[in-house]
Symmetry: C2
Subunit: 142 residues, 2 copies
């Protein structure tokens, strides 16, 4: 697979389009999913160019999953979630819609089914408030 | 959450019950899921006691995701899959049924929906044949 440098996450990483960021370090970025499958759905992406799981080096992948763990802990606290589901899609047949590697961190709530992936846009005000909650939980945990 | 040393993966790691193993190293083990959501569904687990993503140290988590990447590559090749979906559940509300941290590596095939999680037992002969295919793909790739 060839990496498309004009995918939406590449543009966000270059600062060309805005995103509702919740965490950033030298190697990774976490942002609110704009079509959340549940309240507090976050995406965690590496800063290296990798279309999917197959294209990333082991050290960069290790950093990505550690940030994913950090965000998962914070999301569980921030949103008082009953659980966290991680999902990561490789290839259109697997449900991948943006071809820059990303982990979905999806808070789960007892008795609530997930909404359909990449269908309905969330209200930016709600996402911003959720991002603030997450940042607060992160600042308490780091 | 308290780690239950009598969960099924802990028993497999201690050799007390059999499993259809496909890969093992000092820190991780990969085995066929006995209730596969698609053909070639593999589970990757750490050898440390961790109920979920929240309970594992960063270095052990890094090793776990690198083995998961290795298995994903091999599964894509072995089963000629169109994509790979990773899933990882934390807490009963997230769909977790065995309380030892595990990543699901689920081969995806164009136009085929996933079967329901943890419902139907697979034929052990079919699982064994799939494990052999995977081991072959792994021995070609390592």
């Amino acid at each position: 697979m060839n990496y498309d440098a004009n995918n939406i996450f590449a543009k966000i990483l270059r600062g060309e389009i805005p995103a509702c960021k919740v965490y950033e370090d030298q190697h990774t970025l976490a942002l609110m999913d704009v079509t959340p499958q549940s309240d507090g759905h976050v995406l965690v992406i590496p800063k290296v160019a990798a279309s999917n799981l197959f294209e990333i080096a082991a050290d960069a992948l290790g950093r990505l999953i550690v940030t994913t763990q950090l965000i998962s802990r914070a999301a569980k606290t921030a949103f008082n979630a009953d659980g966290i589901t991680l999902m990561q899609f490789n290839g259109a047949a697997a449900g991948q819609t943006v071809f820059h590697l990303h982990f979905h961190v999806i808070p789960r709530y007892q008795g609530k089914e997930l909404r359909v992936h990449a269908r309905e846009m969330a209200d930016i005000k709600i996402l911003t408030a959720q991002a603030e909650k997450l940042k607060q939980a992160l600042s308490n945990s780091i």
